[in-house]
């Protein structure tokens, strides 16, 4: 179907340790920047290869790759425009390395990126001495793609940059509990065999969220998700507001597909949370479902108003309006996809969960035995839900979260601090009183003398 040929030049080992897979589509300059950055890696060039999966490129990308003078093994795979998921799968199929590293074409790696991912995989494996071990490689490394704004920088771009940085700050927190939405394929490392076992990305998702869908399967298969903070890359974002709205529309469609593919996720999808909203959000939903043509027109006009707000520096108004328009496009995408399946959003969410899904495992933890003991127990059992107690007194309950990894010991303390702080303090106060009482004060009931009469 498509030709794949070796780029002559650099001597390559028969089995390189790492294969970097870069799906690309009509971004020749950006791709070259990425390739140049890969030439400056600290990881030895003889130990990795790069596969560029050019997907329906019309801008001379193939020729540029051919001409590129790389110190590492560089191969090109061409596809006729089947989507990023297919491109990545194809690149992975051609890969010879034991560790796959997916890097997007607008992402510029820092010199230590590959080394950081390799180290993360090696470290996470028990007794691992580098990538050469072929032990059970179920580690998935996610590295940060720090945003660098390119082109016109307006209110939207700044907001986007802030959002991305907050995302990675969240991942970087110790004790972060990974969910499927944390799996981002712009800077992702996974064992090649593990990837093949899981069947790669789902090609039905083109345009958005194929990495999230992959994340759902990763979480279900209990892979160990690791944030590799040292694997810094810079994501050159050149995204205008209009294109971002279309992205959101694709996300809406992808969410529906996700709900169809993994029914237990439906209650936690963004569209489920938007169902109870009133006011403007509800209006957006109605418009997207009932009158999309009119809605598109209205939104176009609002888009001009948005530009006026930005020019006049009316930030709060801009914020509110752009949020509204985004919600509209989200519901539009949802409506398109749901329209095909024929049900409304409420029914979609309420549909019964997959009968084959395993029962969530809940664990009772009594903190009076000590936090270390509790952490060890959680690491042993890996529950989906927790009931927290202290000396038999209930602190609170953490319900199962679909799409989130099973609990680990390191999640406990941040969880207690952020979600159960107040209850914990209350229970500890009462326990402290009881403890002091037991330590030696005798109860003195209040009994006055009866009045002699």
């Amino acid at each position: 179907m498509s030709a794949s040929h070796d780029r002559r030049g650099a001597p390559s080992r028969a089995t390189p340790a790492v294969t970097v897979v870069i799906p690309t589509r009509n971004r020749r300059a950006s791709l070259c920047r990425t390739l140049e950055a890969l030439a400056r890696q600290t990881f030895p060039v003889s130990d990795f290869e790069v596969i560029v999966a050019a997907d329906g490129c019309t801008d001379d990308t193939a020729a540029a790759v051919e001409r590129f003078d790389a110190p590492y093994a560089l191969r090109l795979v061409q596809l006729p425009g089947s989507g990023a998921a297919t491109a990545r799968n194809r690149g992975a199929a051609e890969a010879r390395g034991r560790l796959l590293l997916f890097v997007d074409d607008d992402v510029e790696p820092s010199p230590g990126l590959i080394a950081a991912h390799v180290e993360a995989h090696g470290r996470a494996r028990a007794g691992g001495a580098g990538v050469s071990n072929s032990a059970r490689t179920d580690v998935v490394g996610i590295g940060p793609c720090l945003p660098v704004l390119v082109g016109r920088v307006g209110l939207f771009q700044r907001k986007l940059r802030s959002w991305w940085v907050s995302e990675y700050e969240r991942l970087a927190r110790p004790g972060h509990r990974f969910t499927y939405r944390d799996v981002l394929s712009g800077n992702l490392s996974i064992g090649a065999e593990h990837f093949r076992r899981l069947g790669g990305f789902d090609t039905a998702f083109h345009g958005a969220a194929e990495d999230w869908e992959f994340g759902v399967r990763l979480v279900k298969s209990d892979a160990e998700l690791v944030y590799v903070g040292a694997a810094v890359a810079w994501h050159h974002i050149d995204l205008g507001l209009e294109r971002s709205f279309q992205r959101t529309r694709h996300e809406g469609r992808a969410d529906v597909l996700m709900g169809l593919r993994h029914p237990e996720l439906r209650p936690v999808l963004p569209l489920a949370q938007g169902l109870d909203a009133h006011g403007a959000e509800r209006l957006c939903r109605m418009g997207a479902f009932r009158a999309p043509v009119l809605g598109d027109l209205v939104v176009k006009v609002l888009g001009w108003q948005l530009r006026v707000h930005e020019a006049l520096r009316m930030r709060r108004a801009w914020q509110g309006l752009s949020g509204l328009i985004r919600r509209y496009w989200y519901w539009r995408g949802v409506a398109e996809e749901l329209g095909r399946s024929g049900s409304g959003p409420a029914e979609f969410v309420a549909a019964a969960a997959d009968a084959g899904a395993p029962e969530p495992v809940s664990l009772d933890v009594d903190l009076a035995n000590g936090l270390d003991v509790a952490e060890d127990m959680i690491d042993l059992v890996r529950p989906d839900a927790l009931c927290l107690y202290h000396e038999g007194r209930e602190i609170g309950e953490l319900p199962p979260v679909p799409g989130a990894e099973r609990l680990r010991g390191r999640h406990l303390r941040p969880l207690l601090f952020e979600r159960f702080g107040r209850e914990l303090i209350g229970v500890l106060a009462v326990a402290e009183v009881q403890g002091r009482v037991r330590a030696g004060r005798h109860p003195t009931p209040l009994h006055p003398e009866e009045v002699a009469r």
Binding site: L146, V153, L155, Q157, R158, K159, R161, S162, V165, E169, A172, L312, R313, M314, R315, R316, Q319, L371, R413, P414, L416, F417, G421, R422, L424, I425, L428
Partner: protein
């Protein structure tokens, strides 16, 4: 009568704090495990303060910073590590050798710990400052003859050898934990500035007490991340005071340097720091207010100085707003000016005229209002004399 300023560590408090004869009241700063968690002003009875009353005022169930810290200690969650190992501490000073000496005494341990200590002498009239600095081994001395605190700050940016530059005013005394607390907030790449909590060093005179009551530097005890994409950048007063702040040097590349038209030492009298905060926020970056970065500021002692400071504050705020309006086309300053006038200044004026309890002295209010009126003209005067250095995103 004067107010004493004392500290209490709640994990190990004494029953009473004594030795306060001669004071009518005490401002008590409470710490939990070293971190400031609250303050209370209590009357001094027979030379001492009952710490039980401090507890009643501060250890309440609604004091979130306190209970967050308590829970953090109890759960054994450590503080994050500093994001950068070494930083430059810069002190911009002008003809205040005694204050500078006290400040350098407090900062010298940082030099010994490996950080860089830099003194920028701004248009001195004598060589006294240079002599003071020479007494401290290893402290760099730089003389900046261009007018204004902003120019001195920009010189500090240029002279600094490290990526993070922490500024301490010459009339402040930073706490031992000041610099590490600032530095650990720079791991977020969008944070360009971190400000800290500034408490009064002493409240001996009435002028100092009134300054603390009227416009304290502190912004509370809860850590706040101000994200320019989520708030009104013009409300930069939320970030705190310029007496206690640290920047990434790359902020100069991303948003520009301090605006030399504004700030102390220029016709615009003050406002250079607030304008910079606003500019950082308007460019979509973040400022963190970190109350654990504690510093003690010596307020002006005489009433005359207080009045001048309040006047200068009014001038600076309006001058920086005028700058933001003219250069940045930020029409929101008009709304802010009206809001300030209607919500704060006019009611305070009315309360003062009607002699209600708790009123601010009339001459302070009038000084501030006069400053506000003079602000835009002062800005124009400053523009005529000085070059503009920052822009607006």
């Amino acid at each position: 009568m004067a107010t004493a300023v004392v500290e209490v560590e709640l994990l190990d408090p004494p029953a009473r704090i004594g030795g306060l004869d001669g004071y009518a009241a005490a401002l008590v700063l409470a710490r939990l495990g070293g971190r400031p968690v609250g303050q209370a002003t209590l009357p001094v009875v027979e030379g001492s303060v009952d710490v039980g009353r401090v507890h009643e005022a501060i250890v309440t169930d609604s004091n979130r910073p306190l209970w967050d810290r308590w829970l953090q200690l109890r759960l054994g969650i450590p503080d994050p590590e500093p994001a950068v190992e070494k930083a430059t501490v810069a002190v911009c000073t002008r003809d205040r050798p005694d204050d500078l000496r006290r400040c350098l005494d407090a900062l010298y341990p940082y030099l010994e710990a490996g950080h860089e200590l830099l003194v920028v002498d701004n248009r001195p009239s004598t060589r006294e400052t240079e002599r003071v600095v020479a007494m401290y081994d290893g402290v760099r001395y730089v003389r900046e003859d261009r007018q204004g605190l902003s120019a001195a700050g920009n010189r500090a940016f240029r002279e600094a050898s490290h990526e993070v530059v922490a500024f301490a005013d010459d009339d402040t005394v930073p706490d031992p934990g000041w610099l590490p607390a600032l530095l650990r907030n720079f791991s977020d790449p969008l944070v360009l500035c971190v400000t800290g909590l500034t408490m009064p060093l002493e409240l001996e005179t009435e002028a100092q007490e009134w300054f603390e009551r009227y416009s304290p530097f502190g912004r509370g005890f809860e850590r706040v991340v101000l994200d320019g994409t989520q708030m009104n950048p013009l409300a930069s007063w939320r970030a705190g005071a310029g007496a206690n702040m640290a920047f990434r040097r790359s902020a100069v590349d991303r948003v520009g340097p301090f605006e030399e038209v504004l700030g102390s030492g220029t016709p615009a009298r003050s406002g250079g720091d607030h304008e910079y905060f606003a500019r950082i926020l308007a460019a979509g970056y973040r400022i963190v207010y970190e109350p654990a970065a504690l510093s003690w500021h010596r307020h002006r002692r005489t009433w005359e100085e207080l009045r001048r400071t309040v006047y200068g504050y009014g001038v600076g705020v309006y001058a920086s707003w005028t700058h933001e309006l003219v250069v940045g086309r930020e029409f929101g300053v008009l709304k802010m000016a009206c809001g300030w006038l209607i919500r704060d200044q006019l009611p305070a004026l009315v309360r003062s005229l009607l002699r209600r309890p708790g009123r601010v002295p009339l001459d302070l209010l009038l000084a501030e209002l006069r400053g506000c009126v003079a602000g835009p003209w002062a800005y124009l005067a400053s523009r005529r004399v000085l070059p503009m250095t920052g822009g607006w995103p």
